[in-house]
C-alpha cells in the first residue's frame, strides 16, 4: 500500500484563497472538533490546561509578513493542511503501509491501526502536514473529511470538508482538481493558483490563490470647482456656493 497509485481519476483537494483569508482560525477549530470525535483516535491535547499545552491539529493558520523593497509589509494569513500530493513522499517512506493514497480520489490517509508511530512520514513531508498525536502516538493528518464528503447521514450540501463548510469568508474551496471544468479548477486557472514548494517535487493537489496586488491604481485627481481657485477661506466658500446654486438648479 505504500506505493502510490499510478494516477487517480479524481483528485480531491482544497483551493485556499490568500486574498480572502482573514486568519480567523475558524477552519482550524472546526477541523479539530469534527475530527477529534471522528476518523481514527481523538485529536489529543496534552497538558491542556497546563504550562505547555500541545495538541494535535490537522490544519493550522500561519501569519506572515511580506515586505517589498519599498513600503510597509503586507500581512498574509496562511492556512496549511495536507496537500494530498500526487507524489506524496510521506506515503512511500511509510514502512508499514499505514500511509496510503486512495486510488479513487487521491486522498492521502493514515490507517491508524497499522501505524507504528515512527514519524518518518512527518519527516518526509516538506509542509508539516502530519502531526503525531501526543497521547495516542499515531500519525494524524487531514483526511479531507473523508468521513463527511461521502457520508449519507449528512445532508448533501454539507458533504464537504468541515473547514470549507465553516469558513466565514469563503476562502476555502473543495473539489476535483483533476477535472478542468470543476469550479475549483476554474478558480485556479482564473486566479493563478500555485503550488507550495514546487522544488520538492511533491505535486501537491491543493492550490493557493495569491493575494491580489495591494498597490492602488492611480485615479485622476478630483477637479477643483472652476471658481474655487482662490485661497482665502471665505472666498473659497463663496465660490463653492456659486457651484452649489447652479447644481441646485439642475435638481
Amino acid at each position: 500500500m505504500t506505493s502510490l497509485p499510478a494516477s487517480t481519476a479524481v483528485k480531491l483537494g482544497l483551493v485556499i484563497d490568500l486574498d480572502t483569508c482573514v486568519g480567523c482560525h475558524a477552519c482550524v477549530i472546526s477541523c479539530k472538533e469534527w475530527n477529534t470525535g471522528g476518523y481514527g483516535s481523538a485529536l489529543a491535547d496534552a497538558d491542556a490546561y497546563g504550562d505547555a499545552p500541545l495538541g494535535a491539529f490537522l490544519n493550522r493558520v500561519h501569519t506572515f509578513e511580506v515586505k517589498p523593497e519599498e513600503g510597509p509589509a503586507t500581512v498574509v494569513h496562511f492556512p496549511k493542511s495536507c496537500l494530498h500530493c500526487d507524489d506524496a513522499p510521506c506515503v512511500t517512506v511509510c514502512p508499514t503501509g499505514a500511509s496510503y493514497k486512495r486510488a479513487e480520489d487521491g486522498i492521502v490517509l493514515v490507517n491508524e491501526d497499522a501505524c507504528i508511530g515512527c514519524g518518518l512520514c512527518a519527516w518526509a513531508c516538506p509542509y508539516g502536514a502530519r502531526e503525531m498525536d501526543p497521547v495516542e502516538k499515531v500519525m494524524k493528518k487531514c483526511t479531507l473529511c473523508v468521513d463527511r464528503i461521502y457520508n449519507e447521514n449528512i445532508v448533501e450540501e454539507d458533504r464537504i470538508p468541515s473547514c470549507v463548510r465553516t469558513c466565514p469568508a469563503g476562502a476555502r474551496h473543495f473539489g476535483d482538481l483533476n477535472d478542468p471544468a470543476s469550479a475549483v479548477s476554474e478558480l485556479v486557472a482564473a486566479r493563478g493558483g500555485f503550488d507550495l514548494m514546487p522544488e520538492q517535487g511533491t505535486g501537491p493537489v491543493n492550490k493557493y490563490l495569491p493575494p491580489r496586488p495591494r498597490t492602488p491604481e492611480p485615479v485622476p485627481d478630483l477637479p477643483d470647482l472652476a471658481d474655487l481657485a482662490a485661497d482665502a477661506r471665505e472666498t473659497r466658500a463663496e465660490g463653492f456656493f456659486g457651484w452649489l446654486d447652479r447644481a441646485l438648479e439642475r435638481l
Binding site: D19, I29, S30, D47, V135, T166, D221
Partner: protein
C-alpha cells in the same frame, strides 16, 4: 504492489440528535447546530457544533470560538456551586453553599437597601445579552445605578450614530454586501459582528470590490484589504474631515439626498451671543424650518424637499437671522486646515493618498451609482419610481471609538457617509430593524430613586439637552458612575468603569452592595487593573470593606470571582434559556427582522442556575413590582416563563415571533407554545421587510407603517439625519453661559469644544497632556479566535493565543535598541510593564500593539500557575489610567471622551526601553486560589466515539 486499501467507513453515524440554539462565544449570536451523541454511559454529550445554515446571522458558517464551544462547555474552570467567601477579598478562598443560603444572603443585603435607599445598590452587567431584562429588574428594584459595559466599549459609536442618523455601526446596521463596490473600515476589530463581516468581505472579494482598511495595525481584515491606511491612532477624525474637504472642494456630494433626507437645509439661528444662537429655527408646531428657494420664505421642513436652500443668510418671519446648516458645514470643512496637505503629518497619511481615496469614493458613489427599479413613497408623500444607490459603504468600531475624540470622530464618519448619500440606500450602509430610530423615539435617562419604589423609567436614554442631565437639585450626580453629568453628559451607556473608584471614594456617595454580572472588573475590563484590585480590597478604619458587599455572577472562575463575597454561578450558554430580543440588541438583517433564543440543549451537571432565572427568583423574594402578583406570588417561574409571558407594552414582549395563536408577529398576546415554535424553527424567527420598505427606512412610508405593525413604535416617526446636531449645540450654549443648568467652571471650555454641533477634531487628551516623554502609541487588537478574556479556559483556543508579545514597528525596534524575541519596558505616565517584544513591519511607525486580554492572573480560569497566560501574557491595562495626568489645577480629569464618558484607552501614550533578556513579566501578580481547582492532564475529547 497490493492495490488493496484498508476498509474505511465513509458514512459513519454523526450524532443521535441535533439541537439548534444560539452561540454565546462572542457577541455575534450566530445560530448553531449542536450535535449530541451518547457517551459510553448513554449520557448525551456534544459531538460537534456547526453553524446553522438557515440562520440570518451566520448562514451556516462558524468561527473558531463557536466551534470551540465544546471545550468552553466542558472547561474545568466552570463554577460548580454557589460560593461564600471565607478568605480575604482577592484570596480566592471560598466555601460552597446551597442555593437557598445564597439567595438568603443576597436578600439580606438587597432588601434593607431597597427599603432605605435603593441607590446603595450598584448593579452593572458586562457582556450581557439580556440588558432589556436586567435593566428592567434594576428599574423595578429602584436603583438608579444600572448599566452594562458600553461605557468602556462602544458608547462613542453608539451615541454618535444615534444622534446623527438614528442608528450606529456595530451590529445595528451593515454594508449592503451584495451591492457595495467600495468598502472602508476604520478601526475594526475581529470580534463584534465578526462572522457577518467575514462573510461580507468574502462576497466583496468574490466580486472584486475594493476594500480599504484604516487602522494602525494590519491584522485580520486589514490584512486582506486592497489598500491599507496605517493611520496614527486618534487622528481618524482629521483624516475623515480631509476626505470631506476634498469631496466638498470638488462638489462630489449628493445634494438631492442632503435636501430630502438630512437636516442640511434646516435653518440655524444666527444670533451671536444670544441664547438661541445655533439652535434650529422652528415654527409654532416645533417643526424645523427650511428656506424655500423659489418662494423665498421659511417653511416647515416637510412641506418641501429639493426646493429648499442650502446656503445663504435669511430673515425668519420673527425677524431673526438664520442660515441653512449646510452653509455652516461647507464654510467649515472647506477651510484650509482640513486640506490633505494640512493633515498629512498628523495623521500619518500622505496627502496624495487622501486625495486619491476621496476621488475613488466620489467615482464609486456617483459614476457607479445603482438604480433599483423599486417604486416607493417617502415621508412627504413623494413617490419615487426607483431607488438610487451609492455603492460605497463604511464600517467602524473601537479603533475610532475608544478615544477622547471618539464621539466626534464617529460623527465625522457619519457625515462623510451622508454627504455621499450612502446611508440606507442600495450599495451603502443599511440599518437593521428596529433601527433606524430617531433620538426622539428613545427614552431620556431616569435616576430619581425612592425607597421601596421602582424607577420612573429606564436608566439609560438619550438626553435632548442639559435639562435631561441626571443631577439632583443641588447639582450632584444621581448615579454612582456620574453618568449624565457635565463630565459626560451623553453617557448613554452609563460609565461602568467609574463605578468602583467612585464607590470606594464615596464620591458622589457610598454604596452598600455592588452586584456584577459577567464583568471581569478585577482584570481586563478595567483600566488601571492593579488599582481596581486595591479598591476592591480597600477597607475603612474599622477594617470593614469600603464596598461592604459584592455579589458576582459568572459561569467561570475569572479573576473577578476572587473579589466577590457571594458567587452566584451561572450556567454555560448551552444549558440556559435566553432571548436575543428586539427590545435589546437585535440580530436582524437589513432586509428582515429576526430574533432568537437559547435553550438548554444539555442539562447542567453542576449546582448552577441561569443568572436571569436567579434574578427572577430574587425579584420575587424582594417583592419587586412586576415580579410578584398582588398576592405576593412569583409572576414568573423562571427566565423561560418571563421570555414567553412578559409584556413590555401590551402585545409586545421579548420575542416577536409566533405570538397570539402562533400566527402573530411583532404584536400579539403571549403564546405559551412560543418557545417550542422557536425550537422547531431552529431557534430563531425571521420575517422579511416588504420590498418597497427595504431602503430609506427613516423616510420610507411603507417601512414606517411596517415598523408600527411590528411594535417598534406606536406611530410612524420619519425623520432626517442630523448632520448638525442641535442637542450638542444646547450643551455648548450652556457652556457659553446660557440656560439654567450650567457646567462647572473648569468644564466650560471642554464642553464648548467637544459639543460642537458639527463634527470637529481635537487631539486626544492623553497625548496633549504628556507631550514629549511618551512619543509612541500602544494599542490592543482583538484576535478573531479569542473574545476578550473568554477563551483562556478553552483547551483549544488557548493553544492559539496563550501568550501575547508586544509587536513593535521595525524602526522603533532599531531606534530603541530592542531585540526580536527579547523583553522591553513599556512606560506610560501611569505605570510600567516589562513584556516580550517582537518586530513587525506592518504597523503605523509610532504604534506598538498586542492582542487584547490574553494575559491572565495566576490561579484564575483553572489554569496551572505557570501557564503562559500568567507568565508571558500581559495586559496593557496596567499602563492606562482612568484619569489624565494631573494638570496642576488640583482637579481630576477623566481619561475619557468629554461627550459620552467613553473610556479613552486607545489614547494611551508610551515610551519603550530595552529590558534584560529573559524578563520576567512585570507586574507579576500573586496567585489567587482557585475555587474550582485546576484542570490537569491531557484532553482526548471524543475518544468514546472513535
Amino acid at each position: 504492489m497490493s492495490a488493496k486499501q484498508p476498509f474505511l467507513e465513509i458514512s459513519p453515524r454523526v450524532s443521535d440528535e441535533v439541537r439548534k440554539t444560539t452561540c454565546y462565544m462572542c457577541a455575534c449570536r450566530c445560530g448553531i447546530d449542536v450535535h449530541l451523541r451518547a457517551d459510553a454511559e448513554g449520557v448525551p454529550r456534544i459531538r460537534y457544533i456547526e453553524g446553522n445554515r438557515d440562520h440570518p446571522v451566520n448562514r451556516g458558517v462558524l468561527c473558531a470560538k463557536g466551534s470551540a464551544g465544546i471545550m468552553q462547555h466542558y472547561a474545568p474552570a466552570r463554577l460548580k456551586a454557589p460560593l461564600k467567601r471565607v478568605g480575604p477579598r482577592g484570596s480566592g478562598r471560598f466555601e460552597e453553599i446551597g442555593w437557598e443560603e445564597a439567595m438568603e444572603i443576597a436578600v439580606s443585603w438587597l432588601k434593607p437597601i431597597r427599603e432605605k435607599d435603593p441607590k446603595k445598590l450598584a448593579f452593572f452587567t458586562g457582556r450581557d445579552q439580556s440588558q432589556s431584562f436586567t435593566g428592567w429588574w434594576a428599574q423595578q428594584y429602584g436603583t438608579p445605578n444600572y448599566a452594562a459595559h458600553g461605557g468602556f466599549c462602544s458608547v462613542n459609536m453608539a451615541a454618535a450614530g444615534i444622534y446623527t442618523m438614528g442608528g450606529a455601526f456595530w451590529e445595528f446596521g451593515s454594508p449592503d454586501w451584495d451591492r457595495t463596490r467600495m468598502f472602508m473600515i476604520f478601526g475594526v476589530a475581529e470580534d463584534h459582528d465578526s462572522n457577518p463581516i467575514k462573510m461580507g468581505l468574502g462576497k466583496l472579494k468574490a466580486r472584486g470590490a475594493k476594500v480599504v482598511a484604516v487602522n494602525p495595525v494590519r491584522s485580520g481584515y486589514n490584512a486582506i484589504a486592497d489598500e491599507w491606511v496605517g493611520i496614527t491612532p486618534g487622528t481618524d477624525g482629521l483624516f475623515i474631515l480631509a476626505l470631506i474637504h476634498e469631496l466638498l472642494r470638488s462638489g462630489q456630494i449628493d445634494l438631492d439626498y442632503l435636501l430630502r433626507y438630512t437636516n442640511a437645509p434646516h435653518l440655524v439661528v444666527k444670533n451671536d451671543g444670544g441664547p438661541d444662537h445655533g439652535l434650529i429655527a422652528r415654527n409654532e408646531a416645533g417643526e424645523p424650518l427650511v428656506w424655500d428657494r423659489d418662494e423665498h420664505r421659511a417653511r416647515g421642513w416637510r412641506e418641501i424637499s429639493t426646493k429648499a436652500a442650502l446656503h445663504g443668510e435669511v430673515t425668519l418671519p420673527d425677524g431673526r437671522r438664520a442660515v441653512p446648516s449646510f452653509d455652516l458645514l461647507a464654510r467649515r470643512y472647506l477651510g484650509a486646515e482640513y486640506a490633505p496637505e494640512a493633515v498629512a503629518e498628523q495623521t500619518g497619511v500622505p496627502a496624495e493618498t487622501i486625495r486619491r481615496l476621496a476621488a475613488e469614493l466620489a467615482r464609486t458613489a456617483f459614476e457607479e451609482a445603482i438604480t433599483l427599479d423599486q417604486p416607493w413613497t417617502d415621508m412627504r408623500g413623494e413617490r419615487h419610481d426607483t431607488m438610487i444607490g451609492r455603492p460605497v459603504s463604511f464600517h467602524a468600531m473601537r479603533g475610532i471609538s475608544a478615544h477622547s475624540n471618539g464621539f466626534q470622530t464617529a460623527r465625522a464618519l457619519h457625515l462623510l457617509q451622508i454627504l455621499l448619500g450612502a446611508v440606507e440606500c442600495p450599495g451603502g450602509f443599511r440599518f437593521k430593524p428596529p433601527y433606524p430610530k430617531p433620538v426622539l423615539a428613545h427614552p431620556t435617562p431616569h435616576s430619581e430613586a425612592h425607597p421601596n419604589a421602582p424607577l420612573a423609567g429606564p436608566h439609560l436614554g438619550y438626553p435632548r439637552g442639559p435639562e435631561d442631565l441626571r443631577l439632583d437639585k443641588d447639582g450632584h450626580p444621581e448615579r454612582i458612575d456620574k453618568a449624565f453629568t457635565w463630565e459626560a453628559p451623553l453617557s448613554v451607556h452609563g460609565l461602568m468603569h467609574m463605578v468602583i473608584s467612585n464607590a470606594v471614594a464615596g464620591d458622589p456617595y457610598e454604596i452598600d452592595t455592588l452586584f456584577l454580572y459577567m464583568a471581569n472588573m478585577a482584570w481586563n475590563s478595567s483600566m488601571n487593573t492593579r488599582g481596581v484590585m486595591d479598591m476592591l480590597e480597600a477597607t475603612n478604619a474599622d477594617g470593614s470593606y469600603r464596598i461592604p458587599h459584592i455579589i458576582y455572577s459568572d459561569a467561570y472562575s475569572s479573576e473577578m470571582v476572587a473579589y466577590a463575597d457571594l458567587i452566584l454561578p451561572d450556567t454555560t450558554y448551552l444549558e440556559r434559556h435566553d432571548c436575543i430580543s428586539l427590545l435589546d440588541r437585535p440580530i436582524c438583517e437589513p432586509d428582515a427582522v429576526a430574533d432568537a433564543i437559547r435553550w438548554p440543549v444539555v442539562e447542567p451537571d453542576r449546582d448552577v442556575r441561569g443568572f436571569q432565572s436567579v434574578l427572577i427568583d430574587l425579584g420575587a423574594r424582594l417583592g419587586l413590582p412586576g415580579f410578584v402578583t398582588g398576592a405576593g406570588d412569583a409572576v414568573y417561574k423562571d427566565y423561560a416563563d418571563y421570555i414567553v409571558n412578559h409584556q413590555r407594552k401590551p402585545g409586545v414582549g421579548p420575542l416577536a415571533g409566533w405570538r397570539g395563536e402562533g400566527e402573530d408577529i411583532g404584536r400579539g398576546r403571549p403564546n405559551p407554545d412560543q418557545l417550542h415554535r422557536y425550537i422547531e424553527n431552529g431557534g430563531f424567527w425571521k420575517s422579511h421587510i416588504p420590498a418597497a420598505a427595504q431602503f430609506y427606512k427613516m423616510a420610507n412610508q411603507a417601512y414606517q407603517d411596517w415598523a408600527v405593525g411590528m411594535g417598534f413604535y406606536d406611530a410612524p416617526q420619519p425623520y432626517t439625519f442630523d448632520i448638525y446636531v442641535e442637542t450638542l449645540r444646547k450643551f455648548q450654549l450652556a457652556a457659553e453661559g446660557h440656560g439654567e443648568r450650567q457646567p462647572p467652571e473648569h468644564l466650560r471650555a471642554q464642553v464648548a469644544l467637544a459639543f460642537d454641533p458639527l463634527p470637529v477634531w481635537y487631539p486626544p487628551f492623553e497625548g496633549e497632556a504628556v507631550t514629549g516623554d511618551f512619543p509612541l502609541h500602544a494599542i490592543t487588537q482583538r484576535p478573531a479566535a479569542m473574545y476578550h478574556s473568554w477563551g483562556s479556559q478553552n483547551a483549544w483556543l488557548r493553544q492559539i493565543h496563550g501568550q501575547n508579545p508586544l509587536y513593535v514597528p521595525g524602526e522603533v525596534m532599531e531606534s530603541a535598541g530592542l531585540t526580536d524575541g527579547g523583553w522591553a519596558w513599556v512606560i506610560s505616565h501611569h505605570g510600567r510593564i516589562r513584556v516580550p517584544v517582537r518586530r513587525t513591519d506592518a504597523a503605523n511607525g509610532k504604534t506598538l500593539w498586542t492582542w487584547n486580554a490574553i494575559g491572565k492572573r495566576k490561579g484564575a480560569w483553572a489554569l496551572s500557575p505557570g501557564a503562559p497566560e500568567a507568565t508571558k501574557g500581559f495586559l496593557l491595562n496596567h499602563l492606562i489610567s482612568e484619569l489624565l495626568p494631573p494638570k496642576g489645577d488640583g482637579l481630576r480629569w477623566a481619561n475619557s471622551d468629554p461627550v459620552t464618558g467613553q473610556a479613552a484607552w486607545y489614547d494611551l501614550r508610551v515610551r519603550i526601553e530595552p529590558a534584560s533578556d529573559d524578563g520576567p513579566l512585570d507586574p507579576l501578580m500573586d496567585a489567587q486560589d482557585s475555587p474550582v481547582g485546576r484542570g490537569t492532564g491531557d484532553v482526548t475529547y471524543g475518544e468514546e466515539w472513535t
